[in-house]
């Protein structure tokens, strides 16, 4: 439950702001000129703020749609991401957001229509290539977790339905399907769920729905006709890693028809060194972060050899369940 809401003066009377204020009448309302006065300044502690995050309602200025980092995609050549929100309801200890932002408050950009304009521009620019454009919405937040508050899906589905040559990926761990169920399944929308083995999820995905519930939610969406993606990302090393992931794959593909899965992607756990140091400083007693790691070119990972072994094993195990043409490795640089 949000009890503090910061509002940029510029969006104080925006219809989406007004609708939230109607719902959170008891909240402490604080006005500000720009959200950057509150969000991500120096002298902020992500871990302390995560105890009781506030909502910051803002207008996104500047570039709203950006090319994805290298290696990020599910088959398309033109890949972009956009963030209607910064930060996430859940508290996963491997998440890069905790190292990227100093603040854990949720920033919500209400000017969806401006995002829409930039998405149209990007689609237009790439039309000549004859390739579809992919737009990933769950990069800096969970696409669905705060849907009751943001109404993002309610805007995005009708919007993308009208755009030729554009795919939308909603990346989530949420099982809140209410908003999706209100709409007819959209051909060019992938609802992608992030999954880790249950033992991992229980230890490090604080506040996220159970893996079992996520699989059920995927199953429901498939029945309704939605395209579903699976993201085994990041792959977390632990004892009996092989058996643990094989078990997860069996659970997933035992419940979901492989031919109805749009794509499966996987990638190793990696952090830029400065980000890793920051996360470790926030959570010095977090065991997962103390696993043997290597620093290679400023990137902290399990090490090249282990990464290759992990990825190769997963790829092989997944191949027993699903067509390998649906595999995508989310990994920058050369592939093992």
């Amino acid at each position: 439950m949000i009890d503090t809401i910061y509002i940029e003066d510029e969006v104080r009377n925006h219809p989406r702001t007004r609708s939230i204020l109607e719902r959170y009448k008891g909240a402490d309302i604080v006005s500000c000129e720009r959200y950057t006065e509150i969000f991500n300044r120096r002298s902020q502690n992500f871990r302390i703020q995560k105890k009781n995050p506030a909502l910051i309602i803002a207008r996104k200025h500047g570039a709203k749609v950006l090319p994805t980092p290298e290696g990020y995609g599910v088959g398309g050549k033109n890949n972009f991401y956009f963030s209607h929100m910064l930060n996430c309801l859940y508290d996963c200890r491997y998440c890069f957001l905790q190292g990227m932002y100093r603040s854990a408050n949720y920033v919500w950009f209400v000017n969806y229509e401006d995002f829409g304009d930039e998405i149209l521009k990007a689609v237009k620019q790439n039309q000549g290539s004859g390739e579809d454009s992919y737009f990933f919405s769950g990069y800096d937040c969970d696409s669905l977790a705060m849907e009751d508050l943001t109404g993002f899906v309610d805007w995005a589905i009708p919007f993308f339905s009208q755009v030729q040559g554009a795919y939308l990926e909603l990346r989530t761990k949420s099982v809140n399907l209410k908003a999706l169920k209100k709409h007819a399944p959209m051909e060019h929308c992938i609802v992608a769920f992030s999954l880790t083995p249950d033992a991992v999820a229980k230890k490090v995905e604080h506040g996220a729905p159970k893996v079992e519930s996520r699989i059920k939610a995927m199953s429901q969406l498939i029945e309704l006709g939605w395209k579903v993606g699976i993201r085994f990302d990041p792959l977390i090393q632990h004892p009996n890693f092989e058996a643990s992931y094989e078990g997860l794959f069996r659970d997933v593909f035992g419940a979901l028809p492989a031919d109805r899965i749009h794509s499966v992607s996987f990638g190793p756990m990696r952090f830029p060194k400065t980000m890793y140091d920051r996360i470790l400083k926030l959570y010095p007693k977090e065991k997962m972060l103390h696993a043997p790691m290597e620093n290679y070119d400023g990137m902290i990972s399990y090490g090249r050899e282990k990464e290759v072994a992990i990825i190769n094993h997963c790829q092989k195990a997944l191949g027993e369940h699903i067509d390998t043409t649906k595999f995508f490795r989310c990994m920058p640089g050369e592939m093992p």
Partner: protein, 281 residues
């Protein structure tokens, strides 16, 4: 130094300090000090009386911060009186935005827990005024106080609590020491409850930054460069995580190591192996 969380209080007037001094049993620190200073036996509550005005508040806050090595993990509370157009006398508010005349920047203290104390904007002015803005309480110290605590302890640990002492019907000229003490006492229970929540955060923060005592021991036994010392600090944190899981500290490595470099290599190898054999989660 307090093992539990600490609260450092900054007030402008001695009348504002009375409840704090009495409740926590603070004693005045003797000697030639730039500001009157009070503390309890273990230093977990310390109070400085700054005098009126934002410069005085900033100076006193910085002074108190400089006297303590745990200022970055302490909770900081500026308790004082404030005016408002029509709030009832004795009403307590918590500043959620603090601005000041002639300043562009505002401070936004971040509350890491739910509180029943009303959040409200505060405007720090340089002179007492009878002109009350409609959407802020008016006071004289918060801006200076937060300017220092934000730098020292971050935006989550510094907070301003203000008791309404004057309004359009009761002007500040009517105030005296006794009235201020009476007003402060009205809200004291809420202030204590708030301060204990901040203290809990302070305690948690303190527990995360405690230097491993083995670091000192090993640094004196082996010659280590600054980089090696940082590596040692890191590996000791890893070892501590394993010790928390029930493993015994590998004491024998200390005797086996021929020098600092060798000690680091052995400790890191031990930690890597121990982690690989644990659940790693």
């Amino acid at each position: 130094m307090a093992e539990c969380g600490a609260i450092y209080w900054v007030v402008a007037l001695s009348a504002e300090a009375k409840c704090i001094v009495k409740y926590f049993g603070l004693k005045r620190t003797q000697g030639r000090l730039p500001f009157p200073l009070y503390q309890d036996s273990d230093g977990s509550n310390q109070l400085v009386v700054s005098g009126a005005g934002r410069m005085a508040a900033a100076a006193a806050t910085a002074y108190l911060a400089g006297r303590n090595t745990d200022s970055d993990t302490a909770g900081w509370i500026n308790l004082g009186i404030a005016g408002h157009k029509d709030f009832e006398l004795g009403h307590l508010v918590r500043a959620n935005r603090v601005s000041a005349t002639n300043e562009k920047r505002s401070w936004y203290p971040v509350l890491p827990f739910k509180s029943s104390i009303q959040g409200y904007s505060a405007l720090t002015v340089d002179l007492p005024t009878k002109g009350y803005p409609t959407e802020a309480v008016v006071e004289m110290e918060a801006y200076g106080f937060l300017g220092v605590t934000t730098l020292v302890a971050g935006v989550e640990l510094g907070h301003c609590l203000k008791v309404i002492s004057d309004n359009e019907s009761h002007h500040w000229e009517e105030l005296d020491r006794f009235k201020i003490e009476e007003l402060m006492a009205k809200s004291w229970d809420e202030v204590v409850s708030f301060s204990e929540k901040i203290r809990e955060i302070s305690r948690e923060e303190k527990s995360l930054v405690v230097e491993n005592p083995r670091l000192k021991e090993m640094s004196s036994r082996f010659r280590l460069s600054v980089t090696q010392k940082n590596r040692l600090r890191h590996v000791l944190t890893r070892v501590d995580v394993l010790v928390l899981e029930g493993l015994s500290f590998p004491e024998s490595l200390l005797d086996e190591a021929s020098n600092g470099k060798d000690l680091l290599r052995k400790l890191e190898a031990w930690a890597d192996e121990a982690f690989s054999m644990s659940d790693m989660l």
